[in-house]
């Protein structure tokens, strides 16, 4: 399994980790477009380098990786963000995914898992860990009960999507889920992707509505 033609940018403020990952990926044939340790230069570099995949750590110290994820995915078409973080799968991972990240992987994942995840992210698949599936499930349920005082109907999961997400959260692979639910492997991937896309769309509409209501210009005051 090689990286073929996928270019990757590594954003992580920890040099040991950053260089280690970059070396692992180079060894496996990926092109490392750039590495950087902070969110501001990440956006600047990504604009020029336009990598296929940005490996993004959320805990960047100075600024939030969530905001960088939002800007990169909105501004640079063709660049996808894969969150590679250690932060015990808390709310910030969910926020990053809502902001546009295509998936999430824990840092303790093996190199093989990482390579596979980057390859899948590059072709537009969603990369889900069990932990992220649990967070997304929880988020849909939260929205169904407390819709953020919006006129906009919160997105809902279909029964099938709920089923698939639950299986992902219990650690089943796409192939195992496909067997269990008697659907194709591709359909499983599509269901997972669709749960993310609905969440991201809703989030973007909400942010736009909020910005208009509060008279904020597009790149003005942060929304929190």
């Amino acid at each position: 399994m090689t990286g073929s033609d996928v270019s990757v940018m590594v954003v992580d403020d920890h040099p040991i980790w950053r260089d280690g990952v970059a070396r692992d990926l180079t060894e496996r044939g990926f092109r490392i477009g750039a590495t950087t340790g902070d969110a501001v230069s990440a956006l600047r570099i990504a604009r020029t380098v336009r990598p296929d995949v940005v490996l993004m750590d959320l805990n960047l110290g100075d600024t939030s990786g969530v905001e960088a994820t939002r800007q990169i995915t909105q501004e640079i078409s063709g660049t996808r963000v894969l969150v590679l973080s250690a932060s015990g799968e808390h709310g910030d991972v969910l926020e990053a995914v809502k902001a546009g990240a295509s998936g999430y992987l824990v840092k303790s994942a093996s190199v093989e898992e990482l390579v596979d995840a980057i390859r899948r992210t590059a072709v537009g698949d969603a990369v889900f860990t069990a932990g992220l599936a649990g967070l997304v499930l929880g988020e849909y349920r939260r929205m169904a009960v407390n819709p953020d005082d919006s006129e906009q109907q919160p997105p809902r999961l279909t029964d099938r999507e709920t089923d698939v997400l639950r299986q992902v959260a219990k650690g089943l692979t796409a192939r195992q889920i496909a067997n269990k639910l008697v659907i194709s492997h591709r359909t499983v991937e599509n269901h997972v992707q669709s749960t993310l896309r609905k969440l991201q769309l809703h989030n973007r509409v909400e942010l736009a509505r909020y910005a208009i209501e509060h008279g904020l210009d597009r790149d003005g005051t942060p929304e929190e």
Partner: protein, 437 residues
């Protein structure tokens, strides 16, 4: 070690302050400098965030004192021409006014509400009351006309009750009533009423003061516990995000390289395990007897156990949380024992509003058909029975789904009591797409 000083300053600055700050950057010195469990306690031991519940009582006391002074002034104007010693009467009234001003000023500040001050208040008030004996004529005393101090006298009882609670209030009330009997030298129904009022004020206000003091203490304790828990969770998160990652990296890379590096990798791995265990202490009970099961389960997350929980809190009664937590731990230990050290396990917690669903799955060899029945017949169903028993005693139900080669999956459904619905993040419109068990 710049980070050491900075982090210490932060913890002593109070939990609120440290929570507001963004997560500090990863620092190599993190563990050595801040992994001191006591620091969580220090950070929150201030307690000044909780205002004393007795402050309104002191304000009421001051108000009563001023009001009764005005009342006394009215009677003074009416009676002064008939006094035996009007000059002394005037002096008593001026003394009352000065003492009212002084006590209101002292009791208006926390530093003035001392034992000495309240004791002095008792003496001064009693002396002013006693002087009235020389101000009023015998006839005025016999007729039951008010003394110069009138009901202002009672303010010593309220002060004692607020400061010392029920016993202090009662004693002061009895003293005030006794002084009244002593001055008049006779007993009539009016005076009995005064007596009852004096003692009742002392008792009731004392009770209010005791209650306010206890609830202030309880609130301060609860806030301290909450701050300590938040601090501990933050520390655990920091360590999880930084040191553990480096150790994990050293371990995985080292074992790939082999040789001496592999030995170092083993050492790093041991430290990683030890540190993970150290930061994985369960969070303390929160206010109101309910705790967050999600936070508790997250502490079980490790290399081989993946814990999936919602980002929102999953509140359940503390007893249910600790029972579900220990059931989960037991099930995971069971995975270790039967599915081997290579097996992975996944814990999924879902909050459907009306019920909480907890699934524990492993990818071990599973249990072949008939083995469970066989084990039950042999009386070797210890763990399964203990888990089932505990879940059922909580009012929940549990299913076990297993087949040879397909791992084992426990699924626990625990309905929420009626009273808990409001508190939950979920609702009845859960999108649960049917169970897989």
């Amino acid at each position: 070690m710049v980070s050491t000083g900075e982090r210490k300053a932060e913890t002593s600055g109070g939990a609120e302050e440290s929570r507001r700050r963004t997560t500090p950057r990863r620092a190599a010195g993190l563990v050595t400098s801040t992994l001191v469990p006591e620091s969580a306690g220090e950070a929150s031991s201030g307690g000044e965030a909780v205002p004393d519940g007795r402050i309104p009582l002191w304000r009421a006391h001051n108000g009563l004192r001023i009001l009764t002074l005005l009342y006394a002034l009215v009677w003074f104007v009416v009676l002064v021409s008939d006094y035996r010693r009007p000059a002394l009467g005037t002096a008593v009234l001026v003394g009352m006014a000065l003492w009212t001003a002084f006590t209101c000023w002292r009791y208006g500040k926390p530093s003035g509400r001392t034992n000495t001050m309240v004791a002095l208040d008792q003496v001064v008030t009693m002396v002013l009351f006693a002087l009235c004996y020389f101000v009023l004529t015998e006839r005025q005393l016999d007729l039951g006309l008010p003394t110069v101090v009138t009901v202002w006298h009672a303010s010593m009882v309220t002060a004692a009750a607020v400061r010392w609670g029920m016993p202090g209030g009662a004693v002061s009330g009895v003293a005030a009533a006794a002084a009244n009997f002593a001055m008049r030298g006779y007993i009539d129904p009016n005076m009995w009423m005064d007596t009852v009022l004096h003692i009742a004020i002392g008792l009731l206000l004392g009770l209010a003061s005791d209650t306010a003091r206890h609830s202030t203490e309880r609130l301060a304790r609860a806030l301290r516990a909450e701050a300590a828990t938040a601090e501990r969770e933050r520390l655990a998160r920091d360590i999880h995000d930084s040191v553990l990652q480096v150790l994990a990296r050293v371990r995985s890379r080292g074992s790939q390289l082999g040789g001496e590096a592999a030995e170092l990798a083993t050492l790093a791995g041991e430290q990683e395990t030890a540190l993970r265990a150290l930061v994985s202490t369960g969070p303390a009970e929160s206010v109101g007897g309910s705790t967050d099961l999600a936070a508790q389960l997250r502490t079980l997350d490790s290399e081989r156990v993946s814990v999936s929980v919602p980002a929102t809190r999953v509140e359940l009664p503390a007893a249910s949380v600790s029972a579900l937590f220990s059931v989960t731990r037991e099930a995971l230990q069971n995975v270790d024992k039967h599915a081997g050290p290579r097996a992975h396990a996944w814990v999924l917690l879902e909050d459907l509003g009306t019920e909480v669903v907890l699934s524990i799955r492993d990818d071990g060899p599973g249990i072949p058909e008939g083995r469970l029945e066989q084990a039950a017949a042999d009386g070797r169903m210890g763990v399964a029975r203990s888990i089932r028993g505990r879940v059922e005693s909580l009012g929940g139900r549990i299913t076990l789904d297993t087949a040879e080669g397909e791992g084992t999956e426990w699924e626990i459904h625990l309905p929420r009591g009626e009273s808990e619905h409001g508190r939950s993040a979920g609702g009845t419109r859960g999108q649960h797409g049917g169970t897989t068990a």
